[in-house]
């Protein structure tokens, strides 16, 4: 446990030593705020529905940028060898790094607090969907994170990690969309619908917290963390 905490602490700090983190946070905040507020005052609707609905598309680019360097850089710099010859279990390293990027993501999401504040100042919103929306956003972002971390562990090139994560995340975003579902044989429609992020995200962000959606997200996150551990072990093959 102490080891996981030590890794997480070090990794979290390392986000902030380079200016990249600040640039990322800034872009994230400007983008998410702009995409919401440019229509908010015209729509005259005191809800964060639009804001939450944009989140998957912003995360599509934002999360791979957060995760791309995590393992790829260790591999490239050779520090992987240093890390993996310390008395550390593979899963401890994976969880430590995962927690650090989760904390970073949580900071970014917390910084959007200005949005619900504005909404509650300008109107009288229904808080159910807002809280549900935030829970959905965190779950979806975390799912993207674990996917991105796994992909980062496959390569030593950050750009490759970024593009691959973006691509795979995009696939998970769209497989459940209607235009995909229309195009595929009926028999596999439920499977695709289940695999896609869309349906799970939408039902949570309406404020309906269903255990099936939670199970989906948690198993997604766990599955890719598991693959991440396996990919660390693959150095031994």
């Amino acid at each position: 446990m102490r080891i996981i905490a030590a890794i997480a602490k070090k990794e979290f700090k390392s986000y902030f030593v380079s200016p990249v983190a600040y640039v990322l946070i800034t872009i994230f905040l400007i983008l998410s705020n702009w995409l919401f507020f440019n229509m908010y005052f015209l729509d005259k609707e005191a809800s964060m529905r639009v804001f939450i609905a944009r989140m998957p598309w912003i995360f599509l680019f934002f999360v791979p940028a957060v995760t791309m360097r995590v393992w790829a850089e260790e591999k490239k710099m050779g520090t992987m060898e240093m890390l993996m010859t310390l008395p550390v279990k593979d899963y401890e390293a994976v969880i430590g790094k995962f927690l650090a990027s989760f904390a970073f993501l949580a900071v970014c999401i917390a910084l959007t607090i200005s949005v619900p504040m504005t909404v509650s100042y300008t109107g009288d919103p229904d808080w159910g969907p807002i809280i549900g929306g935030y829970i959905g956003t965190i779950l979806m972002g975390t799912a993207f994170l674990s996917l991105g971390l796994f992909i980062s562990s496959l390569t030593e090139n950050q750009i490759v990690a970024f593009i691959l994560s973006l691509l795979v995340s995009f696939i998970f975003l769209i497989v459940g969309e209607h235009f995909v579902l229309y195009a595929i044989p009926n028999a596999i429609v439920p499977l695709f619908e289940y695999l896609g992020f869309g349906s799970h995200f939408m039902s949570i962000s309406r404020g309906v917290i269903d255990s099936r959606d939670l199970i989906y997200y948690f198993s997604f996150i766990f599955f890719f963390l598991f693959l991440n551990v396996k990919s660390l072990e693959s150095r031994k093959w």
Partner: protein
């Protein structure tokens, strides 16, 4: 302390280490010597449990590298080749991170870090980013992280590569100092380093162990015919006919002469012991004036070349 048995490691179809067995006693400083790509680094990576062997096994301080990798890692301090470090961390933060990862109890952490700072003379760079350090300082940070938990075994992969001569001497002295109480394996392709620091040398070539022993033993083992340089003041014809009549002198060659003084290079068969004394005896018998006599020592360099280039 370290027992390696029939260790083999392949990368795909290339065999990096081929059936190597050896053991290292407690408190011994063992040098791996070999050309680049000989399998030194791979052997170290296996011993530090970074990668498992394809076949064979090893135990470190009684712990098997496959069954108890964490116990093995705890006992080893490792400095990988080219000293990979987190370049964006400050030296101070890096050392305390490693101390934490090494499970050094909180109460001792500060004193261990301070000790490392003193031993590796890092006081002046504590607040600097590792990325901004010179190669020599990076190497010292690498050594500090390897020793911070006071391991019984140190494995150092080319600890002096890229350092300037002064730093090399410093690091070698440090290794010698440490070798008094710790078991050390170091790899190098710099030959004087081995004679300067190691109790025992293992020469590895193409994944195989080709020789092992103390630096002196290796020199003697590989020695062939001895070569003697002599300078004699006498009649040249007398000298040459005498040399020609002695069987153990396989060849004699006049290198230079000035006045009545002739310098010869003699190749003497390895069966003849103590050739210097014999030549002296000969000169006394013949009434020659012997003004110089010196034997050519086969250096570790020659041993190394002999064993690794195949014309043995």
């Amino acid at each position: 302390m370290i027992e390696v048995k029939n260790l083999t490691r392949n990368y795909g179809t290339t065999i990096a280490v081929n059936d190597v067995s050896f053991s290292v006693k407690k408190g011994e400083v063992l040098g791996f010597l070999g050309p680049n790509g000989a399998g030194k680094t791979t052997t170290m990576k296996v011993l530090t449990c970074f990668m498992p062997p394809t076949s064979g096994t090893a135990t470190v301080d009684g712990f098997d590298i496959l069954e108890d990798p964490l116990a093995v890692r705890e006992r080893i301090g490792y400095l990988p080749e080219s000293t990979p470090l987190y370049t964006d961390m400050m030296v101070e933060d890096y050392l305390s991170y490693i101390a934490e990862m090494r499970r050094i109890p909180q109460a001792q952490r500060a004193s261990r870090i301070k000790r490392m700072i003193d031993v590796c003379s890092l006081r002046g760079v504590l607040k600097k980013d590792i990325g901004a350090l010179s190669k020599g300082y990076k190497q010292r940070v690498g050594l500090a992280q390897a020793m911070i938990h006071d391991p019984a075994i140190l494995i150092l992969d080319e600890p002096t590569s890229g350092l300037d001569p002064n730093q090399i001497i410093e690091i070698r002295q440090l290794i010698k100092e440490l070798g008094k109480e710790k078991t050390i394996i170091l790899s190098t392709h710099i030959l004087p380093e081995v004679s300067a620091t190691c109790d025992r040398v293992m020469i590895i070539n193409e994944g195989k162990l080709v020789a092992s022993g103390t630096p002196d033993e290796l020199q003697n083992e590989a020695a062939g015919d001895s070569v003697l340089y002599v300078a004699i003041t006498a009649k040249q014809s007398d000298i040459e006919s005498t040399f020609a009549n002695i069987n153990v002198i396989k060849a004699s060659e006049c290198i230079s002469h000035s006045g009545g003084r002739y310098s010869y290079r003699l190749v003497i068969d390895k069966s003849q012991k103590d050739c210097g004394a014999s030549v002296f005896q000969l000169a006394v018998e013949r009434g020659w004036v012997l003004s110089e006599i010196r034997s050519e020592q086969l250096s570790l360099e020659d041993v190394f070349l002999k064993l690794t280039t195949g014309d043995n």
